[in-house]
Amino acid sequence: MAEKTPLLKVEHLSKDFPAESGVFAKRFARKVSAVNDVSFEIYPGETLGLVGESGCGKSTTGRTIMRLTNPTAGKVYFEGKDVAAMNKRELKEMRRNMQFIFQDPYASLNPRMTIGEIVSEPMTIHNVGTKEERMRTVRELLDVVGLNPEHINRYPHEFSGGQRQRIGIARAFALRPKLIICDEPVSALDVSIQAQVLNLLKDLQNRYGTAYLFIAHDLSVVQHISDRVAVMYLGKMVEISDWKTLYAEPHHPYTQSLLSAVPVPDPDIQKSRERIILAGDPPSPLDPPSGCRFHTRCPIAQGKCSQEAPEFREVKPGHFCACHFAEPFPIKQSSIEL
């Protein structure tokens, strides 16, 4: 994997939002640092899972990569080109190869357009094929995502949540992009449908060799689909590794606590296993803690943690972790069989 050139390279990406506006905003400007110094790479055809709790900046990271918002600092390279420096034409070309799947299947489809119009819109915008060819592609896509191609003239409100998400997936694949950013694509669906949609995404990946940046707040969902997993906390990346290592030997105490919170479908293990319960709420990103951002809730925090921000260092080949005292956490093998 390391030999290949990355499809997407994110370097020291930061995104701040102004928290107050008004007459004196310039002087007392406060900002929410939603994403802070995040770096990672995605290789062609792989899936990087990005997890973290609500408000940790996962979605902002995805939106900034797509340049739906502009980054405050840092660089995003897509196929070696700096996304932030692209002009309109280059940006349009880039968007042909990078698509987005949204979390809310109800808000992400225009209620006044038919399914055919929605799925063919990317092709219309990029002038792909004739109208008949586009409609043929739409029918194929609908068939591939498990919808009835006969429904091409129906409207989004005539479909269920799972079906709508399939429409969103068909739209994202219309141009055969190289990378799709999936922003919590299954978290709005109920559990039985989640599995189907995840399997669909996996099938499509095998078929077209698309890379995914898969954003989620649920480790079990991410585990199912990812090659590598990155964990974010309060705008910072705390750990990244291939998923087997991360799940077997999480180094960062935050990752360890997240893993220990995943329910086990076996009452005996569930009762006996160790759980790390974090105290309190995540601190406000308006006023992030000094040093390591996790030290206020960390079970192993020491004096150093509140003063010095830990480096994002390679604890093992391909396994990065941002903790002064990172070490593998002995999760009981009985609870996890890989």
Binding site: R63, M66, A107, N110, R112, S160, Q223, V264
Partner: protein, 315 residues
């Protein structure tokens, strides 16, 4: 055992959802089609539509039959004045006659022409200005938003009738200028409604989705934002027709609108006020015409609002 996991990898087998939750069969319907269906169930709105269509047809075709049947709406001939002045409603003159012996019904019918025209033309002017202003304010935001919305606030802060009268005085007194004055003064409320509609539509993921696909600003506005915010404008414009009719009646009543001997509902009420005691039909008939027509537009607007509300899907 699989890692704690709610997802069975063999979930394929469970792929029953896609077609199981099949939507009710039948032809695909558009949201406008749905809205029309819902509107048809609203009795008051249907009565309103019927009334508006009736008034419009009568007003449009008036030249073909009304003068022959009921006499000229404007001519005041001395013989008529002597014989049929201030007659109460009867078979021959269903609404009675005025002081110069003209039939009230025919004057109400010709007055409808003025009222409906002023309602439509003034609302069209307000809507065009309001849409452009509202769209600029909402889509581009920042300084555009501030300037346009403060301008709208200033317009709304003036006493309305006084403002219209001043504008007509400045433009010169003619019926066209009445349309223009009422139209120009109507834009701030439409701009506000449209602005807030765009602002809420803009937040939707499908606008971001279109941007992520590489759609241009124009495409986003025309294909995504406009179709989803136009419903509130349709509702508001419908109600605005009613208030434009009222404004014209008020202006004409005050003597700055339609000039005698041309009939207008406002002028007829003004003419009638001197005879309120001995010939009340002079005021009542045009008053009823104003009331029923304005009410009809308001009820239609109400019905449209309910019908276009996507949340009331199954009503």
């Amino acid at each position: 055992m699989q890692y704690p996991d709610l997802i069975q990898p063999d979930g394929e087998a469970a792929a029953v959802e896609a077609h199981a939750v099949e939507v009710s069969e039948g032809a695909s319907r558009t949201l406008w089609g749905d809205a029309f269906k819902r509107l048809r169930k609203n009795k008051l709105a249907i009565i309103a539509v019927v009334w508006i269509v009736f008034v419009a047809l009568v007003a449009i075709t008036a030249d073909l039959w009304a003068p022959q049947l009921l006499g000229s709406p404007t001519a005041a001939d001395t013989t008529a004045m002597a014989t049929s002045s201030l007659l109460p409603p009867s078979l021959e003159h269903p609404f009675g006659t005025d002081v110069t012996g003209r039939d009230i019904l025919v004057r109400v019918i010709y007055g409808a022409r003025i009222s409906l025209t002023v309602g439509l033309v003034a609302t069209a002017i307000s809507t065009v200005i309001g849409l452009v202003m509202g769209a600029i304010a909402a889509y581009y935001g920042g300084i555009f938003d501030t300037i346009i919305m403060r301008l709208a606030d200033i317009f709304l802060a003036f006493p309305y009738v006084l403002f219209v009268l001043c504008l007509i005085a400045a433009l010169g007194q003619s019926i066209t200028n009445v349309f223009i004055a009422i139209g120009i003064l109507g834009w701030p409320s439409i701009a506000r409604v449209f602005r807030s509609a765009i602002l809420s539509v803009k937040e939707n993921d499908y606008v971001d989705a279109a941007r992520a696909m590489g759609a241009s600003d124009v495409r986003i506005i025309v294909r995504h934002i406009f179709p989803n915010s136009v419903a509130s404008i349709v509702v508001y414009a419908t109600m605005n027709i009613g208030s434009a009719i009222l404004s014209e009646a008020a202006i004409s009543f005050l003597g700055m609108g339609v000039q005698p001997p041309n009939p207008s509902w406002g002028i007829m009420i003004q003419d009638g006020q001197a005879y309120l005691m001995n010939a009340p039909w002079l005021m009542i008939m045009p008053g009823l015409a104003i009331l029923s027509t304005v009410l009809a537009f308001t009820l239609l607007g109400d019905g449209l609002r309910d019908a276009l509300d996507v949340k009331m899907k199954d009503a």
